[in-house]
C-alpha cells in the first residue's frame, strides 16, 4: 500500500521512491503467497518420498526443508518452469541419495561390519525392509513410480538419468523386491 507522509509532500522524488518500495514489497508478498501455497500442497509428498529413500523420518524432513528453502531462494526462476514440483523433488532426492552414499562410505571407512540399515517401525515392515536393501537410486525410482505415480520419463528427469536407465533401475528394483517378497513379477511397461 502506498502512503505519503508529510515528508513526501515536500519533495517530488520521494513519492516515486515510495512507489518503488511499495511495488517491491508487493512483489515479495506475492512471491511468499505463491510459495506458501505451493509449500502446503507439496511438502508432505516430498517428505514421504525422501523417507522411502532414507528410511529416516527426521532426516527426510530436514532434507525436504533444505530443498524447499533452495526453492524459495530460486523462486523467481523456478516458478516459471513447467514443473516446479519436479525441480524440488530433484533437489531433495539428489540430496537424499548423496546422504545415503556418504553414510555408506563413512561406514566402510570406519570398518563397521554392521551394515544392516536402520528401519523405522512401519506397518509394512517386510516391504520397507526389502526396499532398504536396494541401492539409493533404485529406492528413489520405486518411490517416484509407485508412491507418486510418475511416468518413467519424469522419474528419469528427477533422478537425473536417461529414461532407459530409469527403466533399468525400476526393473532391477522390482526383480529384487519380487524375490524378497516371494511375488511374481509382471511387466509394468
Amino acid at each position: 500500500m502506498l502512503t505519503l507522509s508529510w515528508r513526501d509532500e515536500r519533495s517530488t522524488m520521494t513519492p516515486v521512491r515510495g512507489l518503488r518500495v511499495a511495488r517491491g514489497h508487493a512483489r515479495v508478498r506475492d512471491r511468499d503467497q505463491d510459495y506458501t501455497w505451493f509449500f502446503r500442497a507439496e511438502f508432505q509428498a516430498v517428505v514421504r518420498t525422501a523417507y522411502l529413500v532414507l528410511h529416516d523420518r527426521q532426516r527426510a524432513e530436514d532434507i525436504a526443508q533444505d530443498a524447499f528453502t533452495q526453492l524459495l531462494i530460486h523462486w523467481g526462476k523456478v516458478s516459471r518452469f513447467d514443473r516446479p514440483d519436479a525441480w524440488v523433488r530433484r533437489v531433495a532426492i539428489r540430496a537424499a541419495v548423496r546422504h545415503l552414499r556418504r553414510e555408506r562410505m563413512r561406514d566402510a571407512l570406519e570398518r563397521q561390519t554392521e551394515t544392516e540399515p536402520v528401519i523405522e517401525r512401519a506397518r509394512d515392515v517386510d516391504l520397507m525392509g526389502a526396499i532398504a536393501t536396494l541401492p539409493p537410486q533404485q529406492r528413489a525410482a520405486i518411490a517416484l513410480f509407485y508412491l507418486e505415480d510418475r511416468p518413467t520419463q519424469e522419474v528419469a528427469d528427477i533422478i537425473g538419468c536417461s529414461t532407459s536407465t530409469a527403466k533399468v533401475h525400476l526393473f532391477k528394483a522390482r526383480k529384487t523386491l519380487a524375490q524378497m517378497l516371494g511375488e511374481e513379477m509382471l511387466d509394468v511397461s
Binding site: 524459495l72 531462494i73 571407512l109 516391504l127
Partner: protein, 196 residues
C-alpha cells in the same frame, strides 16, 4: 495380489504415518529462504560497491603510474593468471589393494587435470561413489595443497598438503600433512604420469 499392487498399497500404507508439521517447516523455510536471498543479494552488490569505491579511490593514482611508465605497447605483457609448473593432464591406476582403496572402491584409472586457474578436474573409476567435483589446488614452490573429496569423504579434514617432485614424465606426491586417508591413497599410492 500382484507385485505392483502390493508395492502401491504397501508404500502408501508405510508412508501414511509420516505426517510432518507442515506449518512449522513452512515458517522455518521462509525464514531461511529470506536470509538466503539477502545473502545472495549481498554477494552480488558488495563486491560491485567495493570495486566502485576502489576505482574512485585508486583510479587516478593507477592512471598516474601508467602515465609514468609510458604507453602499454612499450611494456612486456604480463600474464593474467599465474601458471604453476604442475599445470597439465595426469593419470594413474590404483591397484586393488586391501585397506582404504578396496573399502572405498578407488581401484582403477584416475585422471587429474590441473588448470592454470587453480581448478582441478578429477575423473574417477566407475565404481567410486564419492564426489569428485568442486576441487581446487594451490601450488607454491614444491608445496601442493588440494581439497579433493572435501564434500564427502574428507569433509572433516578438508585440505591436504603435499610436496611434489617431477621424475621424468611423472609427478610424485609426498604427504606433508593430510589427515584424510582417502585423499592420501589417491595421491601417493602410485606416481601420476603426464599425458599428452
Amino acid at each position: 495380489m500382484s507385485l505392483d499392487r502390493k508395492l502401491r498399497d504397501g508404500l502408501d500404507r508405510a508412508t501414511t504415518p509420516v505426517d510432518p508439521d507442515v506449518e512449522r517447516h513452512l515458517h522455518q523455510s521462509l525464514r531461511r529462504g529470506h536470509r538466503g536471498i539477502r545473502l545472495r543479494r549481498a554477494a552480488t552488490t558488495v563486491p560491485a560497491a567495493v570495486a566502485i569505491v576502489a576505482a574512485v579511490a585508486f583510479g587516478p593514482r593507477v592512471l598516474d603510474v601508467i602515465g609514468d611508465r609510458g604507453t602499454p605497447a612499450e611494456r612486456p605483457t604480463p600474464s593474467v593468471v599465474p601458471t604453476s609448473p604442475l599445470v597439465g593432464n595426469y593419470t594413474t591406476t590404483l591397484p586393488e589393494r586391501p585397506g582404504t582403496i578396496a573399502e572405498t572402491g578407488m581401484a582403477g584409472r584416475w585422471d587429474l587435470r590441473l588448470e592454470p586457474n587453480g581448478v582441478v578436474l578429477l575423473s574417477a573409476p566407475p565404481g567410486f561413489p564419492g564426489t569428485v567435483s568442486a576441487v581446487s589446488y594451490e601450488a607454491e614452490g614444491s608445496r601442493f595443497r588440494i581439497n579433493a573429496f572435501a564434500n564427502d569423504l574428507c569433509s572433516t579434514q578438508s585440505i591436504g598438503t603435499y610436496r611434489w617432485a617431477r621424475e621424468g614424465s611423472s609427478v610424485n606426491f609426498t604427504p606433508i600433512e593430510d589427515p584424510c586417508a582417502v585423499r592420501m591413497a589417491l595421491l601417493t599410492t602410485r606416481p601420476w604420469r603426464l599425458r599428452g
